[in-house]
């Protein structure tokens, strides 16, 4: 632990905790604009969180402490994972060989508890949502690993900070550019799946039967629901960070500069997500596994490109 650990960690956390909800706002705004509406203010997510925190929770008599564990783990994991991933050119505060696997498995942990807390309500809808969630996650896992392998092969290291290091700029133009592109696409798909976005899920559908992620949190209210939403926002940002770094591997040299670039990138990503959500329709449920397996194959192809 060098002396700069604490300030760097602090910067990371500040960026994460403050800016995460903003992304949701941006996505919402983008969609509204596409739909020709004015839309909610950019800071709407903050207001929602504040309102929820002020409210009182109501719990089904079926639920137990596991019901609370879901949101808690979700937020905790997101914050912890943020310490393992570089924000743009800002290196991760905690970086060591193999931290990328920790990164992946932490989200596995949060999924475990999210689904568990959904099942805790005993509602068949939430059970259904949980089943779909784990299915898609299973099918997405190999894609993530393939992409990470490609990046690791390029970086010759097993730490996220090195994986997303300055060498990417050169790599894009190099022979590995194609596989980098494929990897980017795959990671984008994974981002959309993991954050339950169109075309894989519809965050603001109004029919429980069609929901995947949203249906799992039907019973949350007040502070716990605030945690759920906040966790979702953090997750989007944490999972988006590598993508941003991939797409604009710029090193300005100064912390402030790097942070700025990163934030800009995140906002662009949010806009992109918004655009996708606006222009695409939601896939039929049975199609989603096929798409995910397709992405896995893409990632595999990217891997083949780099190891030969």
């Amino acid at each position: 632990m060098d002396t700069t650990f604490l300030p760097r960690a602090a910067l990371h956390l500040v960026l994460l905790l403050t800016c995460a909800p903003l992304l949701q706002g941006v996505i919402g705004r983008t969609k509204a604009l596409f739909a020709g509406r004015t839309g909610a203010p950019l800071l709407q997510p903050y207001f929602d969180l504040a309102r929820l925190l002020r409210k009182e929770s109501v719990f089904s008599r079926t639920t137990t402490w596991v019901f609370l564990a879901g949101p808690v783990v979700g937020v905790a994991v997101a914050i912890l994972a943020a310490l393992l991933v570089p924000f743009g050119a800002l290196p991760a505060p905690i970086a060591f060989t193999g931290d990328l696997l920790l990164f992946v498995y932490l989200f596995g942990l949060s999924r475990f508890f999210t689904v568990a807390s959904a099942l805790d309500t005993g509602s068949s809808f939430e059970g259904m949502g949980g089943a779909r969630e784990v299915t898609f996650a299973c099918l997405a896992e190999p894609t993530v690993l393939f992409s990470l392998i490609v990046l690791a092969k390029l970086a010759g290291s097993l730490s996220l900070t090195d994986l997303l290091g300055p060498h990417l700029a050169a790599a894009w133009s190099g022979p590995a550019g194609l596989s980098l592109g494929l990897v980017t696409v795959c990671l984008l798909v994974v981002l959309l799946v993991e954050n339950s976005r169109i075309p894989f899920d519809d965050p603001n559908t109004h029919l429980e039967l069609t929901m995947i992620h949203e249906v799992m949190v039907l019973d949350h209210s007040g502070p716990t629901f605030a945690l759920v939403m906040y966790g979702a926002a953090l997750k989007l940002m944490v999972l988006g960070a590598p993508l941003v770094r991939l797409l604009l591997p710029v090193d300005t040299g100064s912390w402030a500069g790097d942070a700025g670039v990163f934030l800009a990138g995140m906002l662009l990503l949010a806009v992109l997500v918004g655009v996708i959500e606006s222009v695409m329709a939601r896939l039929r449920l049975v199609r989603i596994p096929q798409v995910l397996i397709g992405t896995t194959l893409l990632a595999g192809f990217a891997l083949v490109l780099v190891i030969r």
Partner: protein
């Protein structure tokens, strides 16, 4: 070493005194438990001393049988298997006091404890044996003892069938090992185990194939896993824990020991083990996902975990073939650590499953529900076990899988292009992990959360008794310890790897190669976060109203039958594996506007046993009886004809 032998003997005879006590008295079982505890304690102590000593402790005494020799050898590799064995056996014997008390099982309790002790002792012997004959001796005793544990409730047809399948497959494996050790002896000229990395034999291929079969059957590598699910389901839970947690590992130990003998490892060995591992891992967990019987499900997860271990072992073997020390170190230590971990958390899971079965009297997951309120301790233990077996931080499962991942990534250090294909182990592991999460969320959610699905689940009134709770918590602590302080086991893994591959120059584990302490540290941070947030949320929602019913999308009168069931939870995911599983679905078709009551059930038979082996054997047996009816046709003239023909044949033979 004297302590070790004493421990073995004590454990072996632990069940005997019980036969001289009254049929219902508790003294016998208490004495047995005490003997087992002292036995494993002394064995463990001697192993600890060995590890401290550094150089392996050996014992060579004469044994008056042809080729026999009482040769024992305790080295770190064996120690790594013996220590969890001692822990699980000890915990199991305490658990048995509450789970299988003599008072409730006057018929088979004493027999059970006799063979429990025998099994433990023979396994200790297997792990310490340094002579083929002694090894086989202990190996077979182990198999037979385990058979009697499986058929403890031999009045149940299911148990008998399981026992038969187990006994047959165990014996088939043992016969292969007979042949293997004999060929080995032909190479080395003696039945004493050769020293590591010395063997350069002509018939290495034969030895490896025989060994792979013999040990693979015991370890339950797909497609040799046939005996595993029925046996684990039929045995009493602490026997299942022993079977799944430790007995399987003797197969892995055998493979490790065997491969350690050879100076050069052909690449195809590594590839074979790796492929088998991947197949076992993926299909094991997929089959597990499709099960509704709690213990069968756990058994299939053993197949999966053996697969993970095999992946690590395969990578290590490749590392030796291609001379990559880092790969050897990571693969071996990953595999070994996973051996230990699986021993711990699988036993934990079986113990808690036993507590559930004990309380509800059913093994069907769909008969449970809402048990968390009724059995909080059991629920916590099962939950931690589940998190651990899914390889999620901060528990021990993650550490070992993490090491194996690192090994998989490490293949890029090698020059060979074919070797790099081994990196595919990583995505496979990821898939396995994902499926495992799905499966255990299912089990935990359906069994412990929601509302009780059946009257007997609702009627559960007691949590695990202290004699059950103690062992479970011990194992839980062990899991957490390895998960949060992985650095502490690194030296042991290092030593074990060294005595598996003494010729390879190894870096130090836990350094830059695999910073175990940091992993532990992150685990601690996670715990702190969880504690903080959880505390806050608890404070914030302490007096929130808890008397409303779950939101049923406007439906006012939901019943417990409406809850998502285990099969429906798994259905969507299992559907993706239909090509390999061939789940049988019965009913469930509804028609009309006002459909009549309909039932739906799905059942996933074992791909190898139920679909291939049993029908095949039926055919063969039929052919045999046909032939017998022809040859042994009961007519004296025919019989005399045989005599004449034999005579003629022999005359012709001797004429040349």
């Amino acid at each position: 070493m004297g302590w070790f032998v004493a421990g073995v003997l004590l454990t072996a005879i632990s069940g005997v005194p019980g036969f001289f006590t009254t049929r219902h008295g508790r003294s016998g079982e208490r004495l047995a438990c005490l003997l087992v505890l002292t036995g494993v304690a002394s064995a463990a102590a001697s192993v600890m001393v060995t590890l401290g000593a550094g150089s392996p402790v050996v014992l060579n005494a004469p044994w008056a049988v042809p080729g026999g020799e009482l040769a024992l050898r305790l080295d770190p590799l064996a120690a790594l298997f013996i220590l969890p064995l001692c822990l699980v056996v000890g915990a199991g014997s305490i658990y048995g006091l509450g789970y299988w008390p003599q008072a409730d099982h006057p018929g088979n309790g004493r027999r059970f404890r006799l063979f429990y002790g025998l099994l433990a002792a023979s396994m200790l012997l297997v792990l310490a044996a340094d002579n083929s004959l002694l090894f086989l001796f202990a190996w077979e005793v182990m198999a037979v003892a385990a058979f009697f544990l499986v058929t403890t409730e031999q009045e149940r047809a299911e148990a008998r069938r399981a026992g038969f399948i187990y006994l047959v497959s165990a014996h088939a494996g043992a016969l292969a090992l007979f042949a293997m050790f004999v060929v080995l002896a032909r190479e080395t000229g003696s039945l004493h185990f050769p020293t590591a990395a010395t063997l350069t034999g002509g018939s290495a291929t034969l030895v490896f194939l025989l060994g792979l079969f013999g040990f693979g059957v015991k370890a339950g590598l797909m497609p040799l896993h046939i005996w595993l699910p029925p046996a684990h389901a039929a045995a009493p839970s602490h026997a299942s824990a022993l079977l799944s947690g430790i007995v399987l590992k003797t197969g892995i130990y055998g493979l490790l020991r065997l491969t350690s003998f050879f100076a050069v490892i052909p690449p195809w060995w590594g590839w074979t083990v790796l492929a088998l591992g991947i197949v076992s891992g993926i299909f094991g967990v997929a089959l597990a996902l499709a099960q509704h019987d709690l213990k069968r499900l756990l058994a299939y997860h053993s197949v999966e975990n053996i697969g993970i271990i095999a992946i690590g072992l395969g990578l290590a073997l490749l590392g030796r073939s291609f001379a990559l020390p880092a790969l050897v170190l990571l693969g071996t230590s990953g595999a070994l650590l996973h051996v230990v971990n699986h021993g711990l958390f699988k036993s934990l899971l079986f113990f808690s499953a036993g507590s559930v079965v004990h309380a509800t009297g059913s093994r069907e997951i769909d008969h449970y529900g809402g048990l968390l309120r009724r059995q909080p301790w059991t629920a916590v233990c099962f939950l931690s076990g589940a998190v651990a077996i899914c390889g999620l931080p901060p528990f021990n499962g993650f550490v070992s899988e993490w090491l194996i991942y690192l090994a998989a990534f490490d293949v890029f250090q090698g020059e060979s292009l074919t070797l790099r294909l081994a990196v595919l182990a990583a995505p496979a592991l990821a898939l396995i992990g994902g499926l495992a999460v799905a499966c255990f969320v299912k089990v935990f959610g359906i069994a412990f959360l929601g509302e009780p699905r059946t009257p007997q689940a609702a009627a559960v009134d007691h949590d695990a008794a202290p004699s059950l709770r103690g062992p479970m918590l011990t194992l839980l602590l062990a899991c957490a310890w390895i998960g949060l302080l992985p650095g502490t086991v690194a030296p042991l893994l290092q030593k074990a790897t060294t005595c598996w591959a003494p010729t390879v120059k190894l870096a130090s584990l836990g350094g830059a190669l695999a910073p175990l302490p940091l992993v532990g540290a992150v685990g601690w941070v996670l715990l702190i976060y969880l504690a903080g947030l959880g505390w806050w949320l608890h404070r914030r929602t302490r007096n929130a109203p808890r008397d409303v019913s779950t939101w049923g999308c406007g439906y006012a009168a939901p019943t417990v039958r409406m809850q998502y069931t285990a099969s429906s939870f798994a259905d969507f995911l299992v559907g993706q594996f239909r090509f390999g599983l061939r789940t049988e679905r019965h009913g469930g078709q509804i028609a009309g506007i006002f459909p009549p009551p309909a039932t739906f059930s799905s059942h996933t038979p074992d791909a190898v046993l139920d679909r291939a082996l049993l029908p095949g054997f039926r055919q063969v047996a039929h052919g045999c009886s046909w032939l017998r009816a022809r040859v042994q046709n009961g007519l004296i003239p025919t019989y005399l004809l045989y005599v004449a023909l034999t005579l003629v044949a022999l005359l012709i033979m001797v004429a040349h």
